[in-house]
Subunit: 355 residues, 2 copies
């Protein structure tokens, strides 16, 4: 099927390359409805995308029949199995060969598609991404790297859950990959890179950070600014927040937890008396906007970087908007040649190590 | 001096034991003014306290002269040196023998006082607590354990910065000490103990958590409920949040960071238009109360548990209220015999290990 997609003519002589994105139609709390809606929205926004919806054909076609869209931009690949969130990931990947996740990831591996987007089981997407797609030569571990909201905009948090108990050399590569992503996808010039630490001084930290810090200082291709304490992360003091996956996962999830409890406490407080209730009605749009700004899903999913193709994990609770944003993000990723840039950067590192 | 303090007669025959608290008058951003104010407030609230202010005598006496208080409840010990926040902690402890922190901690070690409270250099208080005061027999590592606010009230976060790269056996002791603290100081019956993890399933986690989890499950003297994801911490799903110090420090500081950025974003949003401004005025008390509920300093300082005496670290930015609460907390700590309970618990563990 993918052989039918390739270059299309746009407005006369200009040729535009199509980004082929496989979307897991079965994954996430709101599948298939919101997933398919998001896919339809994405092709409506760009004619440089072809979406391949993978999952139960009859269910997908039934959903699709409710929409008007350019039929040439969406195709369907049938799979009979679904990996559930509760399943042990590695085992699920090995056993369910005809699941949307396994089939989708294999299409990326086989270059039938550029990217795979899923709101399904995080564990299965991470394990499958690493086991099935394969790493760019020289990349030791592919990190999961979501954007997190800050006072100033957003930062990339790398790694947030793919490689627990990582080694210093992994963290150095994360710093480089995150830096490339922020510069070329998010347009941040000379992004500031910091390592999460428990104090600002160089001598602080656990064994991993103490060993990684001088290595990051030595890197000439990143703008390393030193340690960042967790308190400063939401203030946007750095663009690339480097950490081991356990720490990153705690940061990502605590962000959500604190924000949601704080806002629910404020809302609860407003209901205590008439003054609060009236005030609450007046500030409702502000609260809504603040929560929206603080909602990572606005920025699309989290890429698993350093693989030969792109794998994007979106929230399990993703709605159409996040799915659509994640698909559009894949286009920028391809157009900016992020993987080529990662390859160059990692191989330059290897070369300089050999010299 | 301390020999003069001991048992005092209260209302006829009843005898009340006095808790002797050494307070570092020189430590923290607001020293000496707010520290001394807090000490005066504390003795005003309970006649079962004797505060020993340690620091520059003339400065302390000058401050004290502005207050009316029971002169028998406050004494002053002169020290000539001050440990600054930026100094390397261990070196500072070794070199500045006549600093308020070193002298204060030695008084606890020598049983001239029950507790030491400081808003000074965290590193010096932690290092000094471990090096100078000494551990309860059987305690492997003393954890720093602040209370953190949650939707339901508060939880204890143990360890939040004293022992990076801790081992599983340390975490098991943290769980027990945290459990004793929550039950006997905070009055939480059968406190729920959870270990911070990156997923709810037992097979998730890094090497440390995977090794610690089954050990916690085996503990008969705690109510272990399993893993807790960072997202659930602010919802108050557990009373005792067990983690390694690096993770704990990230949690504590991110809590502060997210809350402060979120509230400043909400406030900023309210200033955008007249509707928001009016609403903002009306909800101001609610925002203020929410931030206050979410401010850990309301609950006093963080105890360094497992030492032969009590060492309490309060925020560097502590004002009188937190200092006062921290001093009062020392009284409960002594009255409830927390250290005796920790000793019993740890020694029961050793005994059962020998059997």
């Amino acid at each position: 099927m993918s052989s039918r997609i390739g270059l299309v003519m746009l407005g006369g002589n200009s040729m535009k390359e199509i980004t082929k994105v496989v979307v897991d139609a079965m994954g996430g709390d709101n599948a298939p409805h919101e997933i398919i809606k998001g896919a339809v929205e994405a092709v409506g926004k760009s004619d440089a995308i072809h979406v391949i919806l993978v999952g139960k054909e009859d269910v997908i076609n039934q959903e699709l029949s409710g929409y008007t869209y350019n039929k040439e931009q969406i195709s369907v690949v049938h799979t009979s199995e679904v990996i559930e969130t509760a399943e042990p990931p590695v085992m699920a990947i090995r056993r369910k060969k005809d699941s949307s996740i396994v089939v989708g990831l294999k299409m990326v591996k086989d270059k039938e598609a550029d990217a795979f987007v899923s709101a399904g089981s995080s564990g299965a997407v991470l394990a499958g991404g690493q086991l099935l797609v394969g790493r760019i030569k020289g990349v030791e571990r592919p990190p999961l790297a979501p954007l997190i909201p800050t006072e100033k905009g957003f930062s990339i948090l790398i790694d947030c859950g793919a490689n627990v108990d990582a080694r210093p050399s992994h963290l150095v590569q994360f710093a480089k990959m995150g830096s490339i992503y922020m510069e070329h996808i998010m347009g941040v010039k000379n992004p500031k890179v910091a390592i999460v630490n428990i104090g600002a001084e160089e001598e602080k930290g656990n064994a991993l950070v103490k060993e990684t810090f001088p290595m990051l200082k030595e890197c000439k291709d990143i703008n390393f600014i030193g340690s960042i304490e967790a308190r400063e992360i939401p203030h946007g003091q750095a663009d690339v927040i480097v950490c081991e996956a356990f720490t990153g996962n705690v940061i990502l999830k605590l962000y959500e937890g604190v924000a949601s409890v704080l806002v629910s406490k404020i809302k609860g407080g407003m209901k205590q008396n008439l003054r609060g209730m009236i005030g609450g009605l007046l500030v409702k749009p502000v609260l809504k906007k603040t929560m929206k700004d603080f909602d990572a899903s606005e920025y699309g999913g989290a890429p698993l970087l350093g693989l030969t193709g792109l794998v994007v994990k979106t929230h399990g609770s993703s709605k159409a908007k996040e799915v659509c944003n994640s698909i559009l993000q894949c286009v920028t990723f391809k157009e900016e040649g992020i993987n080529e840039k990662i390859k160059e950067c990692i191989q330059a590192e290897e070369k300089s190590a050999q010299e």
